[in-house]
Symmetry: C2
Subunit: 330 residues, 2 copies
C-alpha cells in the first residue's frame, strides 16, 4: 500500500489533527467525534454543517471556516459518520438563527443525519436539512436511491455559506442551497481505482486500458466501462452528459469546475479544462467563473469530474464572496 | 497509460492553453515558445522569469501573475526549455528596472538560461541570474553539479515577486532571492514512479514495498532505497535531514511546507504535516506560516517533500503579501 499512513485505524483523526495544527487560528476540533468547527461562531447567523465519509478531502472538514461551513464531521474513509458525531456537530454549530444541514445523497449519510436532526430538534435546535444530488451519471446507484451528491456540493457549500455570512435567515440560506442544487450537474470518470487505508486493497478492478465512465466517488459503477480514450473525447463524454441534463443553453452564464479525483496531476486537469472551455463556447455558454483543482476527491483515484453550475446575479455574487478555510482554492 | 492526454507531443501546449483559457483576464501566452506572461507588465518594476521542464505544475507557468513571476516558459515534460524560448521569455518580460532570472539548478536549465541571458544582455537588457538549490538529499546528482532546486523554489518566487511588486530594485530583489535560498532546505520521498506522456512508461522501477528517500523531482535517485515505513517515520527522516542541514534551531520562526508530488491526496499530506509540526515544536521552532498542497510536482508521482524556510521580519512580510496566479495556493 503506497500511502502515507501510520495505523490505518488512526488515518482520519491523524489527518484531521494535521488540519487543526495548520489552522489553529481558525479552527478547533473534537476528534472524539471526528469533528472540526470554526473557533468563532456568530450566534446571529445561520450555521451550516456537513459530514460524510472521509477520502473526499478537501470536503468536508477542510471547507470549514468563515464563508463556508460552520462545522463538519468525518466518518471513516468511504463510510458515513456515526449518528452521535452528526448530532454533536449540529450541537456545536447551532446558533439562534438555526442550522442548515447539507447532506450528500447517500443512504448511510441520510440515515445518520436524519436521526441526528431528530435528536437535535427534540432539544429545541432549529434546523433544516437539504439533500445534494448533482451526479447525472446514474439514476439510482450502489449506495443511493436517486442521484449521488458529488463535486457540485462545493458550490452548495460556497453559495449557502456566503449567504449565511451575509446574514440571510434560515429559509433564505436553504433557498440558496436549493437554487444551486437545481442548477448544478456533475459527471466523473475514473482511470484507476483507489486504496482505502483500512482495506489495504483496491475497491474495484479495472484493466490497464479501461476507464469507468460516470464513476461514483467511492468507486461505484457508472454508466459504462470502456477503453481509455484521448482526453478530448473523455471531456466531450462528460460535457455532453452534464450539458444536456439541465440543459445548459446558449446565453447561459456558468461556473465550470474540473475536479481532480486525487491522483491526477494539475497539468492533466488543465488539458481537460482546455477542451471543456471550447465545448462550452460551442454551446454558447459564458464561463463566468472556473475552478480547476481538487475539490472532491476519491483518495488517490486517477480521474476527473466535470461540474457546471448555471449562474444568476445572486449566485455570481455569492461565489465571489470571500471565504477562509483550510483549503485555499476559492 | 492512465492519463488525460491527447497526442502526447501536444501535452504541454494543451495544458498551457487550458491555463490561459482559465485566466484570460490575467495572462497571455505565446505557445510557439511555450511561454506565458502577465497581461499587464509595469515597466517601472523588476521583472522575474523562470522556466524549466514541464511536469512540476503549478511550477512554473501557473506561478505567473502579480506578486509572483512576470513570465515563464515550459520545456517538454522533464526537459529544459530551448534557448530561444528562454530568450523570448526574458524579452517579453523585460522592464526598465531589469529582469531577475530564477533558475533551478539542473545542467540543462542552466545551459539554456546562460545562453539566453547572454543573448538578452547583448541586446542591452539589464538582468541578473540566480540559481536555486534547496534539495539537501544529495550533493551532486544525475542532472546536477551541486544540489538540485526543488520545492523551495516556491518561496524564492513568492518572496522575490513580492519585493519586485513593492518596487525594490534589481539588486534588492536579487538579495531577497539569495536570502531565501540561503535559508531554505527541502527533501522528498517517492513511493511510486510516474509516467511522462511521451515516454509512456515509468521512469524508474520500484518495488511494491519500497520507497526512494531523497528522490529528485524527475525521479533521480536520492539517498537510499528502503522498505516503506509508517508516515511518522518517513516524516522524521525528511524532517531530520532538512532541520540538521541549515540547521534550524530553537527559537527560529519558519515556514513549513508539505508538498505533494502529484499522486498523493490531501489527507495524506496532512498526516505528514501533523507529524512535521510536532517535530518542529520539539526542536523549538515556531511555524509562522504553513503550506500543505501541491507546489512542485513530479507529474503523478506518489510522494511528498518537506521544505523549511527560516524567516525574518522581511521574509514574513514578503510571504504574506498578496499574489494572483493561475494556482490559488498562497
Amino acid at each position: 500500500m503506497k500511502k502515507f499512513v501510520n495505523d490505518p485505524a488512526n488515518f482520519v483523526p491523524e489527518f484531521m489533527a494535521g488540519v487543526l495544527a495548520a489552522n489553529a487560528d481558525l479552527l478547533e476540533g473534537n476528534l472524539e467525534f471526528q469533528m472540526i468547527k470554526r473557533k468563532t461562531i456568530d450566534a446571529s447567523k445561520v450555521a451550516i454543517v456537513q459530514g460524510s465519509g472521509s477520502g473526499h478531502e478537501p470536503a468536508h472538514v477542510m471547507a470549514v471556516g468563515p464563508g463556508m461551513l460552520t462545522a463538519a464531521c468525518q466518518g471513516p474513509v468511504f463510510a458515513a459518520p456515526p449518528v452521535d458525531a452528526c448530532y454533536e456537530t449540529i450541537k456545536a454549530a447551532a446558533t439562534d438563527a438555526g442550522v442548515l444541514v447539507l447532506v450528500n445523497n447517500y443512504q448511510g449519510d441520510r440515515m445518520a443525519w436524519d436521526m441526528a436532526c431528530e435528536m437535535a430538534e427534540a432539544e429545541g435546535i432549529k434546523l433544516k436539512q437539504f439533500i445534494i444530488n448533482d451526479d447525472v451519471a446514474v439514476q439510482d446507484s450502489l449506495y443511493t436511491v436517486g442521484r449521488r451528491g458529488v463535486a457540485g456540493n462545493f458550490f452548495v457549500m460556497k453559495a449557502a455559506g456566503a449567504a449565511a455570512e451575509a446574514g440571510a435567515d434560515l429559509d433564505a440560506v436553504y433557498a440558496v442551497a436549493e437554487k444551486v442544487n437545481a442548477n448544478v450537474r456533475t459527471m466523473g470518470v475514473a482511470l484507476t481505482s483507489c486504496i482505502p487505508p483500512q482495506k489495504g486493497d483496491v475497491i474495484f478492478d479495472i484493466g490497464d486500458d479501461e476507464m469507468e465512465v460516470g464513476v461514483g466517488i467511492h468507486g461505484e459503477p457508472g454508466r459504462e466501462r470502456t477503453k481509455i480514450k484521448p482526453a478530448d473525447d473523455i471531456t466531450k463524454l462528460l460535457y455532453d452528459a452534464v450539458q444536456s441534463d439541465l440543459p445548459f443553453s446558449s446565453g447561459d452564464r456558468v461556473a465550470l469546475m474540473v475536479n481532480g479525483l486525487g491522483g491526477t496531476p494539475p497539468a492533466e486537469l488543465y488539458v481537460v479544462y482546455n477542451k471543456a472551455a471550447k465545448l462550452a463556447a460551442e454551446t454558447g455558454l459564458t464561463i463566468a467563473r472556473n475552478y480547476v483543482g481538487e475539490y472532491c476527491t476519491a483518495i488517490e483515484m486517477a480521474g476527473v469530474s466535470l461540474t457546471m453550475l448555471k449562474l444568476d446575479a445572486e449566485l455570481e455574487e455569492l461565489l465571489a464572496a470571500p471565504a477562509e478555510t483550510a483549503c485555499r482554492i476559492f
